[in-house]
Structure formats: C-alpha cells, structure tokens
C-alpha cells in the first residue's frame, strides 16, 4: 500500500498549498485595493483555480479517510460484519460511478485545452483536469478497498477491512464536521 500512501500525502500537500495560494492572492487583492488603491488582476483567478484543485484532490483524500458526508443510519443498524459487507457494495458502486466521471471528465478536459483564462493566461484544461484526476484516484482507492474488504470477509478477520467496523457514531459525526 506504499504507493497509495505516497499519492495521498501528495494530494494533502497540494490541498495545503492551494489554501496558501488562496490566502496570499486574496490578501494581496485586498491590500492592493484598499492600501495602494490599485488592482491585482490575476488574484481572483489564481485563488479560484487553486480552490478547484483543492476541492477535487481534497475529495480524493476525504474518500480515503471516509470523510464524505453520508447518512449513517443503516450502518448503525448493522453489526461489524454487515458494515464491512455494505462498505464493499458501496466501493463497487463508487468505482463504477468514478469510471463514468473519469471518462466524461477527460473528454471535457480535452475540449477545454484550447480555452485560455482571461486574467492569468492559464490553459483551462489544466484546471478542468483536476476532476478526472480526482475520479481516477477515488476509483483506485475504492478498487483497492473493495478487495481489502473482500479478503477480510473471506478470512473472517474484520480488523483488516478498509473501514473500522467498530467505530462509534460519535467518531463518524465528528469526522463529518459538515458545518
């Protein structure tokens, strides 16, 4: 699993850097407008594009940590084994969805390779591509988790599953933190 971990760490670094770029450019925008009475043209676009990368790569990382908002009513009703079975089914569903998103997201990216952002001059395709990359990563994670769960179920050792089936609802609620 070493490779997946490296990918996830890289995603997290990009998420953190994206926030720094957002803070610096928006802070710069305010500074230019209020203090220098001038205008920082590229700031808003730079911040917005960083945010797009943050959301899509952060989503991949959030999936790996099972931090996406979900209604956990059914898992609460199930026992540990049932939860792992359910997670296996969900991984298969998510894998299929992400393949669709990957294919059509990639087509969209190809089409936007000729668009140029007005203020920064960035090729829009390099911003759009965050979406299919995210879909690819989530597909990868769900593929691996599917087989990890399957192996855990067959060996009867639930501690090796992709989720911790004994975690309480409070942990889940705290992780959600959906404000």
């Amino acid at each position: 699993m070493g490779l997946l971990r490296i990918i996830d760490e890289a995603c997290k670094v990009i998420v953190g850097l994206a926030i720094l770029v957002m803070v610096v450019s928006i802070f710069g925008q305010v500074f230019y407008r209020t203090i220098l009475d001038s205008y920082l043209g590229w700031a808003e676009e730079a911040a917005r594009f960083s945010f797009v990368w943050l959301v899509f790569l952060g989503s991949a990382s959030a999936f790996r940590g099972r931090r996406h908002l979900a209604i956990d009513f059914l898992p609460e009703l199930l026992g540990p084994r049932g939860r792992v079975v359910l997670d296996t089914v969900l991984c298969a569903l998510i894998f299929a969805l992400m393949i669709v998103l990957l294919v059509y997201g990639y087509r969209l990216t190809q089409r936007t390779m000729t668009q140029i952002a007005p203020a920064t001059g960035v090729t829009m395709g390099y911003i759009y591509i965050a979406l299919p990359i995210s879909a690819l990563l989530i597909a990868l994670y769900s593929f691996v988790d599917f087989f990890r769960n399957l192996a855990a179920l067959m060996k009867g050792d639930l501690s090796r599953a992709a989720i911790q089936p004994n975690a309480g609802m409070a942990d889940a609620a705290l992780k959600e933190d959906g404000a």
């Binding site: 926030i19 945010f51 959906g178």
Partner: protein, 427 residues
C-alpha cells in the same frame, strides 16, 4: 427524468452512499434515461461550474479560523471571560458554556468543530461540579445550535451562493436571532439549574476579574469585528474578510499568544482543506440536481402542488420550515441547503417572501435539526465526548427544542428581528 432522480437519490443515500456520490449517480441515471439526448459531459461540466465560484472560497478560511483558535488556547480565554460575566448565575457553568460558545460561533464557521472544542473543556467541568451528566451534555449540544446561525456561517455562505443572495446580508440577518437564541437558552438553563439546586460559579461579579479576562481575550474578540465590520462597511467581500481574518488569527495564535507552535499549523491547514472538499463535493453533485430540476421544471410542479393545498403564504412558509427542520435532522446543514434551495426558492420568490429572510429562517431550522432526536448530529457528538447514554440525553433535550421552536415562532411573527440589520445594509 426527475421521476428517476429522486427515488434513486434517496435509495442511494439511505444505503449510506455518501451524499455527493448519490447525487452524481442519480444525476447520471437521469441524464441517460432522459427523453432528450443530453451528453454525459453535462455531469463534470456542472460539477466544475459549481466549484469554480469565488464566494465558496470563504469556507476553508472560516473553518481554519475556528481550528486555529481551538488549538491555540483561545477557547480557554473565552471561557474565562464568560465566567467573569455570567459566573454569578445559578448553574453558572451551563450559562458560561452558552456565552463562550456564542463567542466561538462568532469567530468560526463550523458548528460541529466548536461543539466538540467547547464540549471537551466544559463537559468534564460540569460533571466535576456534580451536574447531571445528561443535562450537561444537552447544555453543550444546545451551545452548538447557533454555530450555523451566528455569522460567519458556512451554511449562510452556501445558501447565499446557491440562491444568489447577498452573503453579507445573510450574515447580518443571523446576528440578532443568533444572540436571541443564546439568551433564551441561558434563561432556560438558569431556571432549570435553580430548580435542581446547582451552585453559582463565582460568588460575586468582580470588575477586576472581568477586565483581566477581557484583556486576555481582546485580540481574539477582534475577529468578528474585522469580519462583520469589514463586510458591513463595504470594505471587503465575505471571502476577502475570511482571508484577512485567517491571516490575523494565524498571527495572534502563533506569534502573540504563542500557544500554537508554527509546526502544528500545517496539519490544521490541510484538515480545513479536506473538510472543505467534502462540503464542496456535495455542492458540486447538487448542481447536477439543479440542472435536472430546472430542465424538468420541477420547481413549478412543486409550487403548483403546494399552492393547491393553500394559497396562504404563512401556511406554505410553515410547511417549508418543517421540510428544512426535518432535513437538518438527517444531513448536515450545508448539504440540506444545496439540495433544497433550487427546488424551494422559486416558491419562496413567487410568494413574495424576501429570500434573505427565508434564508436566515431556513438556517435556524437546520440549526434546530442538529439537536433534534433521533439523528441530530450534535447529540451524537456530546454523547461521544461525555460518554453519556443516548436515551438519557433524549429525555433532557425536549425543553431545549421547545424553547428553540418558540424562538422560531417569534422570528416568524416579528420579521424585523431578523431583517433589521440586513435592511440597514441595503440602505
């Protein structure tokens, strides 16, 4: 195609597929089965368009401010200040929790995080003071309700962006109702504490203590003034206010208070980014829903269906409030807003209800939903932190919900309470 969307979305959501993926899946099915030939690239297109939007950039900033403050010892300073103000009331610790919690809410945008921060400090103290543990847990859960109401509120940012309503005005609209609710909670808990014979916290108010505590917390208390003052004065947009306040909070926590080592800031930044991503993926998925419902003219259908019951705006309003309250019990506030807003807003507008007024009330309902059994998220958080059985909490929560509903009725009857500040802003 909306005929397939909603049942499929509900089915997927109920089997615990994350909401964002349920929206994408139902959207894909609706587009494939549509009678009109629509390209599937509509899905990534709509998701991208939702995310590529400047107002949403405020979300990670307001989460980050809250996280930096809870890790940087600001929670403790606010509690000390609240103790100096209201400690002399019966059940002082419960009142302190409400007052300090509302200060926390005025700085951070996330409700669950501030409930957890407040709970981990105040729950053990209340139990040590021999308060009933279930009651103490309910007190902490109630202090989290205003997290989504008092600005800066992430739910207000999401509602404003989805509904194309001024986020600044939504922020202003949340101030008075937010503190009104805090006050009503204080009254309720003071009466309950007196009946149960819980002690006062400090014997008397001392102005010296108050000024010491105020000075220790003063730099942190500047944050709401930077954010709200800046927006109100037209100096910056909510997103810019978030960035400026994030830089300010970072500086005071790391360099002035020196309670947060520089090395611990990076993990907080990453964490706030990932929390934001989880919220925004739901927003992105809901934008597919927005496309499906407008394409199929669902809002018009829902509107004529509801208007066939009653043409009385008050009754329609009541039904809509109930829908938001129930939604708040099942999903987090921002998810409920992005899913419901595109369907409900056309009705609201056709009835001539001010979308800012409606937005503030909707957010209050979602806040009440966070403590409404059986699924309110804050109840689970305090049950976890305080290690209190859920059934005991459920027995204690009812007075809180009754008072909250009473507050809501007051806001609906006297809209000026909500609209006074936003209307000042409209000039």
């Amino acid at each position: 195609m909306s005929a397939i969307f909603f049942p499929l979305f509900l089915l997927l959501a109920v089997i615990a597929l994350p909401i964002a993926f349920a929206l994408i899946g139902a959207g894909a099915a609706a587009i494939i089965l549509s009678s009109a030939t629509l390209p599937l690239t509509t899905i990534p297109q709509r998701m991208f368009a939702a995310v590529d939007s400047f107002p949403f950039l405020a979300i990670p900033f307001f989460i980050l401010i809250g996280d930096i403050m809870s890790s940087g010892g600001v929670t403790r300073r606010l509690i000390d200040l609240a103790a100096a103000i209201v400690g002399a009331i019966h059940g002082g610790l419960a009142i302190i929790t409400q007052v300090a919690g509302s200060m926390m809410d005025a700085m951070s945008g996330s409700s669950a995080a501030s409930t957890a921060a407040m709970g981990s400090v105040m729950l053990p103290e209340m139990i040590r003071a021999r308060y009933d543990s279930a009651w103490a847990a309910v007190v902490v859960a109630a202090s989290g309700v205003t997290g989504v109401i008092i600005p800066p509120s992430i739910t207000a940012v999401v509602y404003g962006s989805v509904a194309s309503v001024s986020i600044g005005q939504l922020f202003m609209g949340g101030i008075v109702p937010g503190f009104f609710i805090v006050f009503s909670m204080c009254v309720l808990f003071a009466i309950q504490a007196r009946r149960r014979g819980y002690p006062r916290q400090t014997s008397e108010m001392s102005s010296r203590n108050f000024f010491v505590a105020l000075r220790r917390a003063s730099l942190a208390l500047m944050i709401p003034f930077i954010v709200l003052g800046g927006i109100y004065g037209g100096i910056f947009t909510p997103t810019e206010a978030g960035a400026v306040a994030a830089v300010y909070t970072f500086i005071i926590a790391v360099f002035v208070y020196r309670e947060l080592p520089l090395g611990k800031v990076w993990p907080l930044i990453v964490r706030s980014g990932i929390t934001t991503a989880a919220i925004m993926l739901v927003v992105a998925g809901a934008n597919i829903l927005g496309f499906v419902v407008t394409f199929e003219r669902v809002p018009q259908a829902v509107a004529s269906f509801m208007l066939s019951f009653s043409e009385n705006p008050a009754i329609i309003m009541l039904i809509l409030m109930l829908i938001f309250l129930m939604a708040g019990m099942f999903v987090t506030a921002s998810a409920a807003v992005v899913i419901l807003a595109p369907i409900v807003l056309p009705i609201v507008k056709s009835l001539g209800i001010d979308p800012v007024f409606f937005g503030v009330l909707a957010v209050i309902n979602l806040g009440i939903g966070t403590v409404t059994p059986p699924l309110g998220i804050n109840l689970f958080i305090v049950a976890g932190i305080g290690n209190v059985p859920m059934d005991k909490i459920l027995r204690e929560i009812w007075p809180v919900i009754l008072v909250l509903l009473l507050d809501l009725a007051i806001f609906i009857t006297f809209p000026q309470i909500v609209m006074f500040l936003p209307e000042l802003m409209r000039g």
